[in-house]
């Protein structure tokens, strides 16, 4: 037992090391490559005179930070939702929350500001809340939520909001491509402003969700059992869903809706770390961050003059895993 625990701790350490390595690579490579010394000077010494320091400090570093935070936030949001619904398929993008968020952000930025401004945490959260409420209300039947139906309804809502987004994009002729890459999810539009807006809320809620691990363990129990030990199931379910919605909406306002990150990373982490949430949550946040940074990095270096949005890469990675997941899960569907 003890050995097993140590092994799992090591796993987290390995993933963390891998993330650090990935950060270094993503700062180093790109359209132009830099040495370690350059990166050191740009970030630690803030020696910003040269052109290359500008690229490292003002372009690549904020992308990296937002990528790590948003990936972790998506993954945690997926973990929380999966535990609450006891359904390994639940994730913010499958339930249509992501596209509802991006619809609200687009609506606000097109009609109120006439510019793509991603600092609308509030509008994004309104979107998340409304998407989630529609999904829940449509899938409730006899005061019960059917897992299968929740997923179908989520897919329908996702398609609905996605086409509403495209409708809005077609209405706004200028900046079409920027809007368009926003709904597929990209880190291209990130600047220090984005970091300033999402840094505090995302870090705060990531830490809060780490503190929820005992509650989440109890939620995995049978409902009668947890009621009998004096645990208010409904109250905690609502609180946890609220946290996961906030996480998803912060992440969407940071980098658009990255498909499948919220679905894959909790599942991988469950395989690696078991279903106890203390390690599981940290692992899933780290895996989400790795996945996001890796897809962004890949999209940048694959075809140098062009840039493939990270969201497309996560979809291409995610679909085979999704199919594998369906094969593995025999229950409920």
């Amino acid at each position: 037992m003890y050995k097993c625990l140590i092994n799992k701790n090591y796993f987290i350490f390995y993933i963390f090391l891998f993330l650090l390595l990935l950060c270094y690579f993503s700062l180093k490579f790109g359209m132009s490559n830099y040495s370690f010394l350059n990166i050191y000077e740009a970030i630690i010494k803030k020696n910003l005179e040269y052109e290359n320091q500008f690229i490292i400090y003002d372009v690549r570093l904020p992308r990296l930070i937002v990528g790590i935070l948003c990936g972790a936030a998506f993954a945690l949001s997926g973990s929380l939702l999966q535990t609450v619904f006891r359904n390994p398929m639940a994730a913010p993008d499958i339930l249509g929350i992501n596209s509802a968020c991006s619809f609200c952000i687009l609506l606000f930025s097109i009609y109120l500001l006439k510019d793509l401004n991603l600092s609308f945490l509030l509008s994004s959260f309104i979107g998340a809340l409304s998407g989630f409420l529609i999904a829940i209300l449509a899938s409730i039947e006899n005061k019960k939520i059917y897992h299968a139906k929740l997923i179908i309804v989520g897919i329908a809502i996702g398609v609905l909001f996605k086409s509403l987004c495209q409708f809005l994009i077609m209405q706004s002729d200028e900046k079409q491509s920027a809007f368009f890459s926003f709904i597929t999810g990209t880190l291209y539009l990130v600047s220090w402003d984005t970091v300033y807006t999402i840094f505090i809320p995302s870090l705060l809620f990531i830490i809060i969700s780490f503190f929820m691990h005992k509650k989440l363990d109890v939620l995995l129990l049978n409902e009668d059992v947890s009621n009998s030990i004096g645990f208010q199931v409904t109250k905690w379910k609502i609180i946890i869903i609220f946290i996961s919605l906030v996480l998803a909406s912060v992440a969407v306002s940071g980098c658009g809706s990255l498909g499948f990150v919220g679905l894959i990373s909790p599942n991988i982490s469950k395989i690696l770390f078991g279903s106890f949430h203390k390690l599981n949550l940290i692992g899933s946040a780290l895996i989400g961050a790795v996945l996001t940074v890796f897809s962004d990095f890949l999209g940048r270096i694959l075809f140098p003059p062009y840039e493939i949005p990270a969201g497309l890469i996560t979809i291409i990675i995610g679909v085979p895993y999704f199919v594998y997941l369906m094969k593995k899960i025999k229950i409920h569907i």
């Binding site: 449509a138 897919i155 398609v159 495209q166 077609m170 949005p309 569907i333």
Partner: protein, 312 residues
């Protein structure tokens, strides 16, 4: 509806003018407008509406799943991907090549669906989830290709969202015969579809080769979908909406349902085209958006009605 769609446009015409332009005066401006732009558009929407709807119906009968629909299974998106590939490689290719690439994309998607469902086991929800995965995959690939063509992406964007604006006699010349033959063929074979929907045992005891027959119908479905897509782009949810309503109205007997689906599909496509043209008369808004905004609630409702099927 057909005649009404001829009167609507940037220049509104009366019924009299339409009839006059269509049949009598051959050199007036009405004649030019109707004959060059509106008539092919109306015929296209009529044709694609009915064939998409009918292919949805066949899929629903074969899979015995009232949520099956070529767009939810990714066939439409696959055909759209084929089109984008060929447009990226050769912007000005001949129409038969264009059609065959769209067919190739559709076949690829159908093949993927077949592999996935046969490896994970069949159930209505699994089928749809697999279809969604394939949809997402082809969507991502299509977008990735579009990134490399920044100059033409606007046109292709409208195209892949489903639009009737590109319809012309040139396209119709090749698609019309194929689609009409497919439609007639299915109308002649309705009895076999009916038997298939009763279950494999009944069908094989009546002397039908079930596997061959299903494969055969699937090929026709994929053909009809891909050719419709190569004319108007992948339209989501359309077959689902049409089948849902026609089943409510005329019941589930395929002999009555098929003509109803065809007529309803054609009408619905014409109506949505007219609505989009009237609402946004100064620019071209993709009709696919309108239909998917309409279709999502219907998907939710039909999953609500078919609780028994889904919750198994």
């Amino acid at each position: 509806m057909f005649f009404y769609s001829l009167t609507v446009g940037p220049l509104k015409l009366s019924f009299y003018q339409v009839i006059d332009g269509l049949f009598f005066s051959s050199d007036s401006i009405y004649h030019r407008i109707i004959f060059e732009t509106r008539l092919p558009r109306s015929i296209t929407s009529f044709l694609t509406g009915s064939s998409l709807a009918l292919s949805g119906m066949i899929l629903q009968f074969i899979t015995k799943n009232s949520l099956a629909c070529p767009s939810l299974l990714g066939i439409n998106q696959g055909a759209g991907f084929g089109i984008v590939v060929i447009l990226a490689l050769f912007p000005f290719c001949a129409i038969p090549i264009y059609m065959s690439f769209s067919l190739l994309g559709g076949v690829l998607a159908a093949f993927l669906i077949y592999i996935i469902t046969s490896s994970i086991g069949y159930s209505p929800l699994r089928l749809i989830l697999a279809g969604q995965a394939i949809n997402a995959l082809f969507y991502a690939l299509t977008q990735a290709i579009l990134i490399f063509l920044p100059t033409r992406s606007g046109v292709i964007l409208i195209n892949i969202n489903g639009s009737l604006s590109s319809s012309s006699w040139e396209l119709l010349k090749y698609h019309f015969p194929v689609l009409i033959i497919c439609l007639f063929f299915i109308m002649l074979n309705l009895k076999k579809i009916h038997i298939l929907s009763l279950g494999e045992q009944v069908a094989s005891s009546l002397g039908l080769n079930v596997k061959k027959l299903i494969l055969f119908f699937l090929i026709i479905v994929v053909m009809m979908c891909s050719f419709s897509v190569s004319m108007i782009g992948p339209i989501l949810f359309f077959p689902l909406i049409v089948n849902h309503f026609s089943k409510k109205i005329v019941g589930e007997n395929p002999f009555i349902l098929a003509p109803a689906v065809i007529i309803f599909g054609a009408n619905f496509m014409l109506i949505s085209d007219i609505v989009m043209r009237v609402l946004f008369h100064d620019k071209e808004v993709a009709i696919g958006l309108f239909i998917s905004i309409l279709g999502a609630p219907i998907l939710i409702f039909s999953s609500k009605l078919r609780k028994k099927i889904i919750s198994v």
